[in-house]
């Protein structure tokens, strides 16, 4: 079966006054139809840039310097803006972090959803359009009567649902959700994640879920990719990454969660800061923050080691010559 999206060795750079920023460095992954892939990492690790470079929504100062993007087997890396316009919406759609800035403040959400529908079906009669808008609102769990409201009259969760309705208006086969729940309350978070999951099962939309919070991702993702300093450092199914993490950075992310803290003990923090992506370090970018770093980590970039058919991690600790280290986190038992 050919993958819906296949990204091969993608590299993206930015021109900045301080030099060339290597935001994405040789990222490869593939996504099957109807799958939810979560990309997790700290801010500035390149996860949003990765999504935007696939949709070609990057600013002028950015450039794809290497690699290929295949959509249903077709190479879209060199597509022009005009060709991309035809793909956006139909092939892929995007959900942003802050639903308030993604919506026009003075337009009713019914009109905004209708607008998105009309872009792809310009000749739709008015009655059919109204039916389609009601259908979309119903799909995202809103009362069709909400079509007459403006965004300011809606709560954060309802706004995120209406943005989702706009994104789904043209039935995309791939949805990018960039931190869709970060601006929402804990109580609404799970609802929106469940909605994403339900829609993905109903319509078969493949989803790329971007987040900085591993706990959020556990609910919705089939597969998890951990990103650090522009590179994927570990990918695997959700079970593999949560129960049997191999990369020291994944261990750090899991240990830093407040849900794991015990009373009276200080929270674990990953020491140091992510490296600057202008002229990044030669070896493993995580080496200087890694308490398990080996000498080779400072010299040479680790390759992706295969653990199972679906589980990969880029750390020298997986080399047969490396010392055996008992991971500090693993199956959530206590």
């Amino acid at each position: 079966m050919s993958a819906l999206l296949d990204v091969q060795d993608l590299s993206v750079t930015f021109h900045s006054p301080h030099g060339l920023v290597e935001a994405v460095r040789g990222v490869s992954f593939s996504l099957q139809a109807g799958e939810v892939l979560a990309i997790v990492g700290e801010s500035g690790c390149g996860k949003s840039v990765l999504c935007k470079s696939i949709m070609k929504l990057l600013p002028e100062s950015a450039q794809i310097v290497g690699g290929r993007i295949l959509l249903k087997g077709t190479d879209i890396t060199g597509y022009t803006e005009r060709e991309m316009r035809r793909l956006r919406g139909r092939a892929f759609s995007m959900l942003f972090q802050d639903p308030m800035t993604a919506l026009a403040p003075t337009m009713t959400i019914g009109r905004q959803i209708g607008e998105a529908v009309l872009v792809h079906r310009p000749r739709l009669p008015r009655a059919a359009l109204r039916r389609r808008v009601a259908e979309l609102l119903d799909l995202v769990g809103l009362d069709p009567a909400a079509a007459r409201l403006c965004p300011y009259a809606l709560s954060g969760g309802m706004r995120q649902r209406s943005v989702l309705a706009v994104a789904l208006a043209s039935e995309p086969s791939l949805l990018f959700a960039d931190e869709p729940t970060t601006a929402l309350d804990v109580t609404i978070q799970a609802q929106v994640l469940d909605l994403l999951r339900a829609i993905q099962q109903k319509l078969g939309t493949a989803t790329v879920l971007v987040s900085h919070d591993l706990a959020v991702v556990a609910r919705a993702a089939d597969r998890v990719a951990v990103m650090y300093a522009g590179k994927l450092v570990e990918t695997g199914t959700a079970e593999e990454v949560f129960y049997d993490p191999r990369h020291p950075y994944t261990w750090g992310l899991l240990r830093a969660l407040p849900a794991r803290a015990r009373e009276g003990e200080p929270l674990y923090t990953i020491p140091g800061m992510p490296p600057s992506l202008i002229d990044p370090p030669k070896g493993d970018a995580f080496a200087c923050r890694n308490e398990y770093a080996l000498a080779i980590d400072y010299e040479e970039m680790p390759p992706m080691f295969q653990i199972t058919d679906t589980h990969f991690a880029a750390t020298w600790l997986l080399d047969p010559r490396a010392p055996k280290i008992e991971p500090p986190v693993g199956r959530w038992s206590k």
């Binding site: 804990v186 591993l214 079970e239 830093a256």
Partner: protein, 293 residues
């Protein structure tokens, strides 16, 4: 028992919008003892920020009184008489450090500004030395002094905001969702910093959050707010062990678990509970819950 540092009595705040009247805070009472970290938890719209703003004199409450070190801050005459004390001994940290710091001032200027305003003679010689000292306390190096807020990361900016608040050596620090806009890995750093500073300075802390997992780690006592009312107050350990109000239970079960199998099979708790009613009654020593009389 000594008098509490902060005593909020029957606080009510109402927003009016045309004919619409919204009781954002409805008859809320709580006390914070000296040296305590008190957590206030609730979803957006529950009125927790409004409480913070009333405590900081940003809003004038419709009813009720707030005593800070025995001064009634809602009474204009008392407030004017103690203006300097109130302005220095209460400090506020905002959620969004990008907008609470002036973009056109350097970090050194931002941290030293309160001292300049209150004409405090810097004990360490110059305002710049003072800023350096405060930054060192929150874990920032000298190299940050001449940077602008836009050049800093979110975690660093929040540290600058904390340094500015601490430069006045406050008795009460009010933090309105100080870590909600930060990455998980940075959140842990800031939480550890708060805890360390509290142990060192011994200031009192009103910590506002929507995330119970965070509160559990930091606070000694927690109040849960729902639709403008406090529905439960208890010592942190007890609240997590034995939540009594249905809303507290729903909030507790909403904490995501970093375990895919457990998390996927976890049912969603109902949140559309009826508006809370009743009075706070003591269920166990120090554990209050809202019950109909």
């Amino acid at each position: 028992m000594t008098a509490p540092l902060l005593d909020v009595c029957h606080l009510t705040h109402v927003f009016r919008h045309g004919r619409l009247i919204l009781r954002a805070v409805d008859d809320v009472s709580f006390q914070i003892q000296e040296g305590e970290i008190f957590g206030l938890v609730g979803e957006s719209g529950s009125g927790k920020s409004t409480v913070a703003r009333c405590v900081m004199n940003i809003y004038r409450p419709a009813k009720g009184s707030i005593l800070f070190q025995g001064i009634d801050i809602c009474d204009p005459r008392q407030r004017r008489a103690n203006q300097k004390l109130l302005q220095t001994k209460r400090q506020l940290i905002f959620q969004d450090s990008a907008s609470s710091l002036d973009q056109r001032m350097t970090v050194a200027e931002i941290v030293a500004e309160p001292m300049a305003i209150h004409r405090i003679v810097p004990p360490r010689g110059s305002l710049r030395e003072e800023a350096k000292f405060q930054l060192y306390y929150v874990g920032l190096g000298e190299d940050c002094l001449d940077k602008y807020p836009t050049e800093l990361s979110g975690g660093q900016r929040q540290r600058v905001a904390i340094a500015r608040a601490l430069s006045m050596e406050p008795a009460l620090l009010v933090a309105d969702e100080p870590i909600a806009s930060l990455d998980v890995s940075i959140q842990a750093q800031i939480l550890n910093l708060f805890r360390h500073l509290q142990e060192e300075h011994g200031f009192t802390f009103l910590f506002i959050a929507h995330d119970l997992a965070v509160v559990r780690y930091l606070c000694s006592r927690v109040a849960v707010m729902f639709r403008g009312k406090i529905v439960e107050i208890a010592p942190t350990g007890e609240l997590f062990r034995d939540p009594l109000h249905p809303y507290t239970r729903a909030l507790l079960s909403a904490i995501p678990i970093p375990d895919p199998q457990a998390e996927r099979s976890r049912p969603l708790p109902p949140f559309d509970l009826p508006a809370p009613q009743g009075v706070l009654t003591e269920a166990a020593p120090g554990h209050y819950v809202l019950r109909s009389p």
